[in-house]
């Protein structure tokens, strides 16, 4: 029974707060409960005044009880939904406005106001939106005016780069989720030939894709085609490519090892010239004020000299006054020649020459035989100079991929057909 006294239940049914005035209020309470009226929050304010909460039906019964005149009953407050509805019924404009507002909210939420695309990287976002708009999915469209399934199907049919599409509707936002196909790197399938990066003699040729134009023992020149990517005319793939409108070319692949001779050259002097400062100094001055320049530069009286310039511009912090003083110190120098031991000069030149050779070698190159060194001493401008020429024979992978250039590219590359051209023998060591 106590659970029936829950406040929320009374609020829904409605109740009144009443004031009872009179004597013997305990008798009033007893008679009220005997009449079947439930009273809540009964508070005695004074000897003759009491307030209580009672349901609407209970109040009607209490009014009958108070007809004898012993007690005076008055309503302090009316609480609950029924009274709210009565008040609202008197304000028809408010009711109508509420209904219209609800209708508007319902109508406006039935429209897609925003369209987003997620997941596109290569495919232009605008293209997807335009396609979706063609099938009804656009900003301002009713949700019932388009079908997500239809939009998804049309996107996949029209855009080859897409592998999956899904239209999601969240309230007034429509999101087009797409996933693009992963296409292989075009460089992996770019048609072209394998050419020689260096002059050499073919030692080992392994063809993975393409047609070899040389054989082991052949001499090749730089940029000579070694493995061609042209599909032979008698191959079925040749006709297939032509039927598709593509060039009958593939990406040639293979390993081309050849004996190559790399050369290096360097020089070193046996006398080192140095400029030594004698201590004698001459100064030149230049003063610049805006566009006016004053300078005092007497003739330099030294045969050989070095100069050093200093600029002075007073100021504070980043601010400078437009007055610049330039002082140039000219120091007399004398050339001295320091002899360098021949062994040291030779070592320097040899190291430089070998560094040139090693800079040309590729990773994985094998040195087939020890290198050869030629040393020569000459006089240049009265100074002895050591010249070192080194040659290194290596077994190296000389392949270099050269892509096929189309007619629209820089120049036209004509594929090499037929037997390799006759080449002059490469001078060996």
């Amino acid at each position: 029974m106590m659970s029936l006294a829950k406040g929320s239940f009374w609020h829904w049914r409605g109740y009144v707060i009443i004031k009872i005035k009179g004597l013997y209020l305990e008798l009033f309470i007893n008679q009220a409960i005997q009449s079947g009226v439930m009273l809540r929050d009964v508070e005695r304010l004074s000897e003759q005044i009491m307030v209580a909460k009672v349901s609407v039906s209970g109040f009607r019964r209490l009014r009958v009880l108070c007809r004898g005149g012993k007690w005076q009953l008055s309503i302090v407050k009316k609480v609950g939904l029924p009274f709210l509805f009565f008040r609202m019924a008197r304000r028809k404009g408010l009711l109508a406005g509420g209904v219209v507002a609800l209708l508007l909210i319902y109508l406006l939420s039935s429209v897609v106001w925003f369209v987003e695309v997620q997941g596109c990287e290569q495919v232009p976002r605008q293209r997807i939106l335009e396609l979706a708009a063609q099938f009804g999915l656009r900003s301002g469209a009713l949700k019932s005016a388009f079908s997500g399934k239809v939009v998804e199907r049309q996107l996949l049919l029209t855009l080859d780069r897409l592998s999956w599409a899904y239209v999601e509707t969240r309230g007034t936002l429509a999101i087009i989720h797409v996933a693009e196909k992963v296409v292989p790197d075009p460089e992996l399938t770019m048609p072209g030939d394998i050419v020689a990066a260096f002059d050499g003699v073919i030692e080992d040729l392994l063809v993975l894709r393409g047609v070899p134009l040389v054989k082991e023992g052949d001499i090749v020149r730089v940029s000579q085609v070694v493995i061609s990517g042209l599909i032979p005319p008698n191959a079925p793939l040749h006709a297939d490519k032509l039927a598709k409108g593509e060039t009958p070319y593939i990406k040639a692949e293979g390993v081309v090892k050849a004996r190559v001779w790399h050369e290096g050259y360097a020089e070193a002097t046996l006398v080192q010239r140095e400029q030594t400062v004698t201590g004698r100094v001459q100064r030149h001055y230049s003063l610049v004020l805006g566009t006016y320049i004053w300078s005092w530069k007497p003739a330099i009286r030294f045969k050989t000299y070095t100069s050093e310039e200093r600029v002075y511009q007073p100021g504070m912090g980043a601010w400078r006054i437009p007055l610049v003083l330039t002082v140039t110190r000219i120091k007399e120098t004398v050339e001295t020649q320091i002899p360098i031991p021949e062994a040291q000069a030779l070592a320097q030149a040899e190291a430089a020459a070998w560094e040139q050779v090693h800079g040309k070698l590729r990773v994985g190159t094998q040195l087939s035989v020890p290198g050869q060194t030629e040393v020569e001493t000459i006089i240049v401008d009265g100074i002895p100079v050591v010249r070192v020429h080194v040659t290194q024979e290596v077994l190296e992978d000389i392949r270099q991929f050269r892509p096929l250039e189309t007619a629209s590219g820089p120049g036209v590359y004509r594929p090499v057909l037929g037997p390799p051209p006759k080449v002059q023998p490469v001078p060996g060591p």
């Binding site: 409960i33 009273l39 929050d41 005695r44």
Partner: protein, 94 residues
């Protein structure tokens, strides 16, 4: 010596031997006190006195006197009632 009617004696014996609730069989009041803030009474017979400091409630066994401050009747129905406020003490008077 307290005079107990035969009928009451019989009801006591019956409820004890048959293990029936005494408040139902013998119409005894049942008082439940929650802390010092709320008191519930079942099987009451009406209010004898009600002031913010004292509430006297009639029962079949006598009366229950509740003393405290700012007492109010939280809810009252024909058989049950609840008193709320600062309850100092509760006396059952035969």
């Amino acid at each position: 010596m307290l005079q107990i009617s035969a009928w009451r004696w019989l009801k006591e014996r019956l409820s004890g031997s048959l293990e029936l609730p005494q408040d139902v069989i013998m119409d005894l009041p049942k008082v439940i006190i929650t802390g010092g803030m709320q008191l519930q009474i079942e099987n009451h017979k009406g209010i004898l006195e009600y002031t913010p400091r004292c509430i006297r409630i009639a029962t079949a066994q006598g009366e229950v006197v509740v003393n405290g401050t700012r007492l109010r009747i939280h809810i009252i129905m024909p058989q049950e009632m609840a008193v709320a406020g600062c309850i100092d003490n509760v006396n059952i008077v035969d």
